[in-house]
């Protein structure tokens, strides 16, 4: 019984690993192929099956004038917009979440939970509802098709996530911890950044991870709110597709699009394995 269980367990893990890793292997191998190797017959192993070429990768950095697509600039645009919006969202969201978790607000019938729900409700409605208001808003203040405009929009999208995660996190940090800090001579601001914040790093990492992921993968708003001046990576990758599907450069761009998320996952995993995400506060 024990052995059977172990066998099934490992079988499942192996199958799952294949399921996860196979698309990556496929993409890596495809990104080094040319038109011939993709379309003639099924091939997997470079040099044996097909002659590897860097053409798929070269296209990505060549300027359009020379027949490339140049995703370098969109790549850094995406990095800038995602990181800036995530950072601002985390800072503002954490402050808001702390206030919502610790202080009691009363305004008419509005209570803390209503305010928290208001933040979350921004993510409940389908994004398309927001597209026209965002478009009109950005064009009115002249930030359409600009990095700053995108950052503003992404803050609106990401901050609810940060608030949501951090409210939940702060609610689980005992109030007595703040009180002890106050008693030990901290004013409320010091209590927050000297005691509460250092003990909230796990929550900040999780919130940051979600912000980065949701910011990085957004296609919809990047597509609607930009035209020619500024382009973000997801839009550019989709634009690669033309009458002949360029599998090689699509694979290459998919790989470098996923790369930042993989790095994020590894960083978080390191914290997870150190046990820092749980048990810091009992």
């Amino acid at each position: 019984m024990e052995k059977l269980y172990k066998f099934l367990k490992y079988m499942f893990i192996i199958l799952w690993t294949v399921f996860i890793v196979a698309p990556f292997l496929w993409a890596i191998s495809t990104s080094f192929k040319d038109f011939q190797s993709v379309n003639s017959k099924v091939t997997y192993i470079p040099w044996l099956d097909f002659e590897p070429t860097l053409e798929g990768w070269r296209v990505l950095i060549k300027s359009p004038a020379r027949g490339g697509v140049d995703i370098v600039e969109p790549y850094f645009n995406s990095l800038f917009v995602t990181c800036t919006a995530s950072l601002i969202s985390i800072v503002l969201g954490t402050l808001a979440a702390y206030a919502l978790s610790r202080f009691t607000f009363k305004a008419g019938f509005v209570r803390n939970n209503d305010i928290t729900f208001f933040f979350i409700s921004q993510r409940i409605m389908p994004p398309i509802v927001l597209s026209i208001p965002f478009f009109i808003f950005l064009s009115t203040i002249g930030l359409l098709d600009s990095l700053i405009g995108l950052v503003v929009v992404y803050i609106v999208l990401l901050m609810p996530i940060a608030v949501w995660i951090m409210v939940d996190f702060f609610n689980r940090v005992p109030k007595e911890l703040d009180e002890t800090a106050l008693i030990d001579g901290c004013n409320p601001y010091q209590a927050f950044y000297k005691v509460v914040l250092p003990n909230s790093i796990p929550g900040l990492i999780v919130a940051g991870m979600f912000c980065i992921i949701f910011g990085w993968i957004d296609f919809f708003f990047a597509f609607i709110l930009t035209f020619t001046e500024v382009q973000l990576l997801p839009v550019k990758v989709v634009a690669l597709n033309s009458s002949i599907t360029p599998w090689w450069s699509l694979s290459a761009s998919a790989l470098i699009s996923v790369a930042p998320l993989i790095i994020v996952a590894f960083v978080v995993e390191r914290y997870l394995s150190k046990g820092n995400l749980s048990g810091a506060l009992k």
Partner: protein, 359 residues
């Protein structure tokens, strides 16, 4: 130059957490607040610390109005019943945290921390992480942090309640020496607990609190010997004092067909119904006693608690050895009538074995 509270009232919802609480704590004194869970003990301590603002009433300390002083400038220290320390700091950093906030110099901090660690018996633990410590050790760190501060007011909110039995006994013993050695002379120590035994052992001035109201104040011995009413008698005894509704007729006390010869200290009592109070330890097993049915037998430590029933009268007897009983078994017990308390029907103390009041 004392800590004086006048008419503190706090009623955040339907219930009073503090109901007209007044006191006068003197410097260097040890005060215990005795009350059951939710009686307002923590609220009172938090009010003194400044974490809560009472709805009305005020607190003066050293002749200054305390209510205008924010928590972080009050120079108080507090130990919670949960083991609250700073999880991101080591033991040394935890204890030095309040000292650094006060901007003491490095040498001073080091000396204070070392003294405090010595007092609570944690020398050598300086670099440990909080999570690596046991509950008892965590609470010692919290205690050391509040001692090192040398605060003028030290608040301990049920510091032993979350510890296991053995550790509680041990720390309770140590508290006496810790409080003698570790405290500055002028510190006001305020200790809240649900456990009457802790109150008796600490032997300070006691405030008995119930539903936010002060029921009785006085030295521990006084509370124990002369609880002013039934409620205090219940709160200040563990197990709670047994209350028997009985009739006093010429020369005897009767209840449930039991006749007990009237003890000397009750000779002046009028003939009528009273609530007689007797501590569990004054009810003994004896073959010459009266028959009771066992409802429940609990063994705690080296003692056995017998929950007994006869008619509508229920009492708890404390037997000082471990014995096995069957439920519904009949046992015979005698009451030590010399230790009878007498309470009026409305709960007021009429007579105690230690002092006779005019009935």
């Amino acid at each position: 130059m004392n800590l004086v509270a006048k008419h503190l009232t706090y009623k955040p919802d339907d219930q009073y957490h503090l109901n007209d609480v007044s006191f006068n704590f003197e410097k260097g004194g040890l005060y215990t607040i005795l009350g059951r869970t939710l009686s307002g003990k923590t609220t009172l301590l938090k009010t003194i610390a400044g974490l809560l603002n009472p709805d009305s009433g005020n607190i003066n300390f050293e002749d200054k109005n305390f209510s205008k002083v924010p928590v972080w400038e009050r120079n108080v220290a507090m130990v919670y019943q949960q083991f609250i320390n700073y999880p991101h700091l080591s033991v040394y950093e935890n204890i030095s945290f309040p000292l650094k906030q006060r901007k003491l110099n490095e040498e001073n901090i080091k000396k204070n921390v070392e003294d405090a660690l010595k007092t609570v018996g944690l020398v050598g633990f300086e670099n440990r992480k909080i999570q690596e410590l046991s509950g008892g050790q965590q609470q010692r760190v919290a205690l050391a942090r509040s001692l090192a501060k040398k605060a003028k007011i030290l608040l301990l909110d049920e510091p032993l309640v979350n510890l296991d039995y053995k550790l509680r006994e041990q720390l309770r013993e140590e508290f006496k020496t810790i409080f003698n050695e570790g405290l500055a002379n002028e510190t006001i120590l305020i200790y809240s607990t649900t456990d009457p035994q802790e109150v008796m052992e600490l032997n300070g001035e006691v405030i008995v609190l119930d539903e936010g109201k002060v029921l009785q104040t006085g030295p521990a011995k006084d509370i124990f010997e002369n609880p002013i009413n039934l409620k205090v008698a219940e709160i200040s005894n563990d197990p709670p004092m047994n209350i028997i509704n009985g009739l006093k007729i010429d020369g005897k006390i009767t209840f449930e067909n039991i006749n007990i010869k009237l003890p000397k200290h009750l000779s002046q009592l009028d003939n009528k119904n009273y609530n007689f109070g007797i501590r569990s330890s004054e009810i003994k097993l004896s073959d010459s006693g009266e028959e009771f049915e066992i409802e429940l037998a609990e063994i705690s430590g080296s003692e056995t608690l017998l929950h007994l029933k006869r008619g509508s009268t229920k009492v708890i007897a404390l037997i000082e050895e471990v014995m096995n009983f069957k439920i519904h078994e009949k046992v015979k017990v005698v009451f030590n009538s010399d230790k009878f308390y007498v309470f009026a029907e409305d709960g007021k103390l009429i007579s105690s074995p230690f002092r006779i009041k005019n009935g």
